[in-house]
Symmetry: C2
DNA sequence: TTGACATATTCCCATCACGGAATATATAAG
DNA sequence: CTTATATATTCCGTGATGGGAATATGTCAA
């Protein structure tokens, strides 16, 4: 049986490096499909398909602006992943101070 | 082209729900292969194969103890994922902000 | 309408991940 | 050494994945 469907699980969606790159690029501000394609040196159809996957799992949102479609991250969905990985924080190495600092941040 | 090899990237490794379950189960204390298989109701070879993947990307460590092999999480590796998802933290709770900012709905 | 631009979708295909079953290896006990 | 237990590995079949190419859809301007 193959991996969990990429269109039903944020963890699978970010398994693809290209999709992580897209998320990183649009994190600061919304971008059009071609902006993404140009910056990441990908073909437009490939970008559109990745964006569709990211939309299906709720990791990005889209907004029409004339002929363009602007995409932005839905950071709240990425929070799921952050929370999950946080489960292991108690075993992280490093100073207690750093762990405390993270605890404060996540509040 | 398929997804990035599951044996080279922690993000791909945790894309599989079973592997996340394994990580969750052994997070508290190290466990043997059969303990994992019993608890998660999986076949032993399947567990061994998933553990091998997790070892290859450094997410778990193994220790021989007689006939058993005890596995534990390498939480520092999971920290990579935590840090990556933290990149989007500045936009968390942004749902309300966005609703205020844009009256128009997505697409 | 026609044409240019922007994005989405469809089809094809090589690749690879997963589970199942069988088997191999390793360690301990008798 | 032989046997039982614990885990690892191999082989196979099925099915999802992502890129490429072509095409479709959508939007604006003249």
């Amino acid at each position: 049986m193959p991996r969990a469907s990429t269109t039903s699980d944020p963890f699978s969606a970010i398994a693809e490096p290209r999709r992580r790159h897209i998320l990183e690029f649009i994190a600061a501000e919304e971008r059009s499909v071609n902006d993404i394609a140009d910056f990441l040196e990908m073909r437009q159809p490939s970008v559109s398909k990745h964006l569709q996957v990211l939309r299906d799992v709720g990791l990005v949102r889209a907004r029409r602006d004339g002929r363009q479609t602007l995409y932005r991250t839905n950071a709240d969905a990425l929070r799921t992943i952050h929370e999950w990985s946080r489960m292991f924080a108690q075993h992280w190495g490093g100073q207690l101070r750093r762990i405390k600092a993270h605890a404060e941040e996540d509040r």
